[in-house]
């Protein structure tokens, strides 16, 4: 049978590239004089890229591929390192990149806090840093230049909106949490719960267990859940993989498609296909194709132009209405 998920990562598809959400003028900006560095020619510069996790899930694959493709297209020398989900390793990785002579850094942080040593090393050499996907808790335009990424709280809120719509704002929902201690988890949870509390007080969150962002774990937890809470109306999975695991569990338990509403975050092809098949009610996109925007920002910055400190991208959403049509946009 044809399986299209393995040839999905197509960073070249510009039409699905990221769009900045609010290029508003009120946003804080940063330029090279403010930052205290010197102009350089991006073309001849070395860019260091630190990836936080193995390129083994669709999100990370697409993210790294997008960065690499863009660097190649622009003819920029790219050094990369992968922290294999170990924060200590990511700190050393970035320091290694600096020691190896990176002039600019693009970091996909595993964690928001704990970047002191890296920021100190970078500051000593005035190396501009752009963080993608997750933010670093530090001072923009001083410790780093810009953050490019989604607003995870917002993602949670939008997922809540979808859940409210799917369930009609009544009943019981469960949350499949991401890995514990991870700020993506924290923020996607917070946004979701806040929105539910504000908009649909009759919708109750009755169950929150971690699925560790993995499909298998998502499936196992859901299997337990549907037995202890047979009346559950909706499941909010903080990433697609866990959501797909939940679908597996529901199938295994003999439930019908759509009997339990599932809302997930990310926008992988499999999940969007799930909407088409009727198992998933909605997917909030979290676009991983950071390459173009990241290099655009670095380019502008190194030329001395102003860049926004917070470049929040506009994430799309997949719903039963657009899923079929937008399937090609999914990663």
């Amino acid at each position: 049978e044809d399986d299209n998920s393995d040839k999905s990562s197509s960073a070249g598809e510009k039409d699905s590239g990221q769009v900045v959400a609010t290029p508003g003028a009120d946003d804080k900006t940063c330029d090279i004089t403010q930052f205290g560095g010197e102009k350089i020619d991006l073309k001849s510069a070395t860019v260091g890229f630190s990836q936080s996790e193995k390129e083994a899930n669709p999100f990370r694959i697409a993210e790294t591929a997008s960065i690499k493709a863009e660097a190649e297209e622009r003819g920029i020398k790219l050094l990369s390192a992968n922290a294999q989900t170990q924060f200590s390793k990511q700190i050393s990785d970035v320091q290694d990149l600096i020691a190896k002579g990176a002039d600019l850094l693009v970091i996909a942080p595993l964690n928001s806090d704990g970047w002191g040593p890296v920021l100190r090393s970078a500051a000593a050499k005035k190396i501009p840093i752009v963080t993608i996907d997750r933010k670093i808790n530090a001072t923009a335009c001083k410790d780093y230049v810009s953050f490019i990424g989604s607003d995870f709280i917002e993602q949670g809120k939008r997922a809540a909106d979808q859940m409210i719509e799917a369930t009609g704002g009544k009943g019981e929902v469960a949350i499949l949490l991401g890995a514990a201690g991870n700020n993506v988890t924290t923020e996607r949870t917070k946004g979701f719960k806040d929105q539910i509390a504000a908009k649909a007080p009759e919708l109750k969150v009755v169950f929150e267990q971690t699925g560790e962002f993995a499909r298998e774990k998502g499936q196992q937890v859901t299997e337990q859940l549907i037995q202890s809470n047979p009346g559950i109306n909706g499941i909010y999975a903080e990433n697609d993989e866990m959501g797909l695991g939940a679908v597996n569990a529901l199938k295994g338990a003999g439930k019908k498609a759509g009997a339990v509403k599932i809302v997930t975050v990310d926008g992988t092809r499999n999940a969007v296909q799930g909407i088409v098949d009727g198992w998933i009610s909605g997917v909030v996109e979290s676009n991983p194709r950071f390459g173009p925007l990241a290099f655009q920002t670095l380019d502008a910055f190194t030329k001395g132009e102003k860049v926004a400190q917070d470049i929040v991208i506009q994430d799309g959403a997949y719903t039963p209405e657009n899923a079929k049509a937008d399937l090609g946009k999914a990663f």
């Binding site: 049978e1 399986d3 998920s5 393995d6 193995k54 390129e55 083994a56 899930n57 669709p58 694959i61 514990a180 009755v206 169950f207 929150e208 267990q209 971690t210 560790e212 962002f213 993995a214 499909r215 298998e216 774990k217 499936q219 196992q220 937890v221 299997e223 337990q224 859940l225 037995q227 202890s228 047979p230 993989e241 797909l244 695991g245 597996n248 199938k251 295994g252 338990a253 499999n270």
Partner: protein, 320 residues
């Protein structure tokens, strides 16, 4: 009269302790079942038992191989990575039909086991490090072979994952059959006896002319193949090959199941029945914590406490 009392007392106490040691883990399972029946809504249903049995099957299969490794005074940390490798191989070769893929996946496990066993038996590397090296490299190889999660849409695989025979899921049947086979191997075969002797006193086994190297290599090959089978079953259940996360921390779950089941880590003794009960105990514990929706902090602490209690009940006594 006093003499009688004197005679009887210590022996009886010792026997009682030994009973507890031998059956402590079963008692633990019973307690957890009772607690759940009393406190967990909708616990007493065939569906629920089915879920628990299906979820525990892969862990149990890995634990069976682990029990052999531990019985030989070793340990196999690479099992989780072998599961990942087997799922990668399975996906890659599914095009040639499920049987071919299954055999290739098992061969993959056997090769890793052979590498483990050779490092341990021929070079004399300590099991924990030898298998640690293959744990790291194994998952790397799995990811090189299959760099990302891939859906498995094979009808054979999907019926393996969710089908059943007379109402008993295939997964459970396979796990039970393997448990019986391994139990039989330990109890009744020459290999089993030799394995225990090697685990108890390697120099003595060596001097008694036992084929120490062959036995050790076989142990790790079996552990590898069992882990590969578990990988295949997990894949069938998930309907996808996920070499990144499949089997992570499996080594710790398996070791816990084995040790909680009363097999000492010092080798020379293997309890397969206990291992089954140990795996079930851990599964029930996890299920209980999830069903009651406890926060992760609680879950971890509760697991720690139960593990210690279970091992305490099953601990080796009488040694001074």
């Amino acid at each position: 009269m006093t003499e009688l009392a004197l005679k009887g007392a210590p022996v009886d106490r010792a026997r009682l302790l030994r009973l507890l040691q031998d059956y402590g883990v079963y008692a633990g399972v019973a307690v957890l079942l009772l607690v759940n029946i009393a406190l967990t809504p909708h616990f007493l249903s065939t569906e629920n038992f089915r879920t628990q049995a299906v979820q525990v099957a892969p862990v149990l299969i890995v634990a069976l191989g682990m029990a052999l490794a531990i019985g030989s005074e070793g340990v196999d940390l690479s099992v989780g990575s072998v599961m990942a490798l087997s799922t990668s191989l399975l996906s890659l070769y599914l095009g040639y039909g499920p049987w071919v893929a299954l055999i290739v996946a098992m061969l993959g496990g056997a090769v890793i086991g052979l590498a483990n066993g050779s490092l341990i038996a021929f070079i004399g590397v300590q099991p924990i490090v030898a298998t640690l090296a293959l744990m790291v490299a194994g998952r790397g190889i799995a990811l090189v072979l299959l760099p990302q999660l891939k859906d498995v849409r094979d009808p054979g695989m999907s019926s393996l994952g969710s089908g059943d025979l007379f109402g008993i899921p295939y997964l459970v049947l396979i796990a039970a059959a393997l448990a019986l086979a391994v139990g039989f191997t330990v109890k009744r075969t020459t290999f089993g006896r030799q394995l225990l002797a090697i685990g108890d006193s390697r120099p003595a086994a060596q001097l008694a002319g036992l084929p120490v190297r062959r036995v050790l290599i076989l142990v790790y090959v079996i552990a590898g193949v069992l882990a590969a089978i578990a990988g295949v079953l997990a894949t069938a259940r998930l309907q996808a090959s996920d070499p990144t996360s499949l089997g992570t921390l499996m080594e710790l779950s398996a070791i816990t199941a084995v040790v909680v089941g009363g097999t000492p880590l010092s080798g020379g003794r293997i309890r397969i029945g206990g291992t089954v009960a140990g795996a079930v105990l851990i599964q029930l514990l996890t299920a209980t914590l999830i069903k009651h929706d406890l926060p992760p902090s609680w879950t971890q602490i509760a697991q720690a406490v139960v593990i210690v209690l279970a091992v305490y009940a099953a601990r080796e006594r009488g040694k001074r």
